[in-house]
């Protein structure tokens, strides 16, 4: 393909994937409200839109109550008066929500969404993604998540409000601290797969997911992701009791909505990354025969990831700020460094063939 064709393909595919994820974002909010409601013995939003079923026994029956709630929310957010507080820094105040959303969308570029689907995947590439074959895909994700902090920090600063600034500072400190553990746990799949290409990592999990080989790394990664997303139990930057609402307290209307959009889209994209790095990505039964199934598998894995995050939010109380920091630096970081070093040594020893005699000796002993 010529560079022009590559660019046009990336534009079209990127537009479609982004659109799909934005729709997904709307329904993620509904999913969260519904599941959270059920977990707290409530019903959740159930008024906006439903599918009527034929009445049985004189009782009116409704299916999927609340299915149009995201549309109602969007209409409400767009039609709200767009209030800008008097003493904000106008340029940065308007820039900050965009800086929050853009990284959340950019991460999607390198995530493999399916295998080699005919027609959709041009020839040198082996998997479907907006930007397939990026040989530094994992590092790209780390880079984009690391610039994601700007939206929150700048929103806090530009609002010219003490609560917002405190929220923004908490956010930056928290994200810097947990990025280290996240980066170190991401190195493990790279070492196991011998590739920084996301597609290579998925392909290396053909015979077994990395979560079985390295549950510690997967666990650390998921904790760091929760902290990176600033979701409960790590949502200190929007602790209502302490900061009223944190960095977004001075925002209203759709600008406020954009911060939520960033959060939910990041939830989806980071669970896609977790699925790719540790849970086999788009792989599943019969995916080699029917490559289109990859879209189904990755969607199921993303939804499971989202449900887990919602479940955790409903189950755990918020950490205290000093607990959060000391947990990140004194527990998570040393454990992930140790895990990384041990894994590196084990991999080198395996490559040198040290384990072969040991394994055969054990097999001989068992076999008699």
């Amino acid at each position: 393909m010529t560079p022009g064709q590559i660019a046009i393909r990336a534009l079209i595919v990127g537009f479609i994937v982004t659109f799909a994820f934005i729709t997904g974002f709307a329904y993620t909010t509904l999913l969260e409200r519904k599941v959270l409601g059920r977990l707290q013995h409530r019903v959740g939003p159930n008024r906006a839109g439903y599918i009527p079923l034929p009445t049985r026994g004189g009782k009116e029956r409704k299916l999927l109550g609340g299915i149009l709630q995201p549309a109602a929310d969007a209409v409400k957010l767009f039609f709200k008066e767009d209030i800008t507080p008097g003493k904000v820094d106008l340029v940065i105040y308007n820039l900050a929500p965009m800086l929050a959303v853009i990284p959340a969308i950019l991460i999607l570029a390198v995530i493999p969404l399916a295998g080699k689907v005919p027609w959709l995947v041009p020839d040198p590439y082996q998997y479907f993604a907006v930007a397939p074959g990026v040989n530094v895909g994992v590092l790209f994700i780390l880079a984009i998540t690391s610039i994601g902090v700007y939206g929150v920090v700048l929103a806090g600063w530009a609002s010219n409000s003490k609560y917002a600034v405190l929220g923004g500072i908490r956010a930056s400190a928290q994200m810097i601290s947990y990025e280290l553990a996240m980066g170190l746990s991401v190195l493990i799949p790279i070492m196991l797969a011998d590739s920084m290409d996301m597609g290579g990592i998925v392909a290396a999990q053909k015979n077994g997911w990395f979560v079985f080989l390295q549950p510690i790394a997967a666990f650390i990664f998921s904790i760091a992701v929760m902290a990176e997303l600033q979701r409960a139990p790590f949502d200190l930057l929007e602790a209502e009791q302490e900061l009223s609402a944190g960095f977004n307290v001075e925002y209203g209307g759709m600008r406020f909505g954009m911060f939520f959009m960033a959060e939910y889209m990041k939830m989806a994209s980071l669970s896609a990354i977790a699925a790719t790095l540790f849970f086999g990505g788009y792989r599943g039964p019969f995916v080699d025969q029917v490559p289109l199934l990859g879209f189904v598998y990755i969607s199921i894995k993303i939804i499971i990831g989202l449900l887990l995050m919602i479940w955790i939010r409903a189950s755990f109380p918020r950490l205290r700020y000093d607990q959060l920091m000391s947990f990140g630096w004194k527990v998570l970081l040393p454990v992930s460094v140790a895990n990384f070093v041990v894994m590196a040594i084990v991999l080198v020893l395996q490559a040198e063939g040290v384990f072969q005699p040991l394994v055969s000796a054990i097999l001989e002993f068992i076999g008699g």
Binding site: F140, A143, Y150, S172, E179
Partner: protein, 177 residues
């Protein structure tokens, strides 16, 4: 070298953001212009067929160092205080002029003496992460290890300095760290 049009657009953005960093009165704006500059340089690396360098540039400079800068600026409230409107002192003008002149002279002499230096060299180098890693650990292993030791020393220095302050506070009788 990639597409010259892309290069010139990027170069313009890079220079404009560097000037913006120097010219803006507000420290936060300066920091943001610097971030824009780093990201533009990262895209230039991409154009030069060095994706690893590009991504590392974004992660380290834009993602880590500048966030810390912002952190410090916001905590100290330095965005309002540090406005030196009276301009530069005499020796600062002289030093800046001297350094700028040296830079331009070196650049021009290189250009005149060795015109092939601006040729189309980039695409012939293997810039995959594996090749880069091998070069770092084979040809450049000594500088690499030296950098590691330097960083370790800096890290230990930070820990020691932080601890000494805490000890002094304790000796004075204050119990809040």
């Amino acid at each position: 070298m990639g597409n010259p049009i892309v290069f010139f657009i990027l170069a313009l953005i890079a220079i404009a953001s560097a000037l913006g960093m120097l010219a803006s009165r507000n420290a936060i704006y300066s920091a943001l212009f610097l971030v824009l500059n780093f990201v533009t340089i990262a895209v230039l690396y991409l154009v030069l067929n060095a994706p690893f360098m590009a991504v590392v540039q974004v992660t380290v400079y834009a993602g880590a160092i500048m966030v810390l800068f912002l952190f410090v600026i916001m905590l100290l409230g330095a965005e309002r205080s540090g406005s030196r409107t009276e301009g530069l002192r005499d020796w600062e003008w002289i030093l800046a002029g001297f350094l700028g002149a040296v830079l331009i002279i070196v650049f021009l002499t290189n250009l005149v003496m060795n015109p092939s230096a601006v040729g189309d060299t980039a695409p012939f180098i293997d810039t995959s992460p594996a090749a880069l890693g091998l070069r770092l650990f084979e040809a450049y292993v000594f500088p690499f290890e030296l950098t590691g030791v330097l960083l370790l020393a800096a890290m230990i220095g930070v820990v020691v300095l932080g601890r000494r302050k805490k000890m002094a506070q304790l000796e004075k009788g204050g119990n809040d760290a």
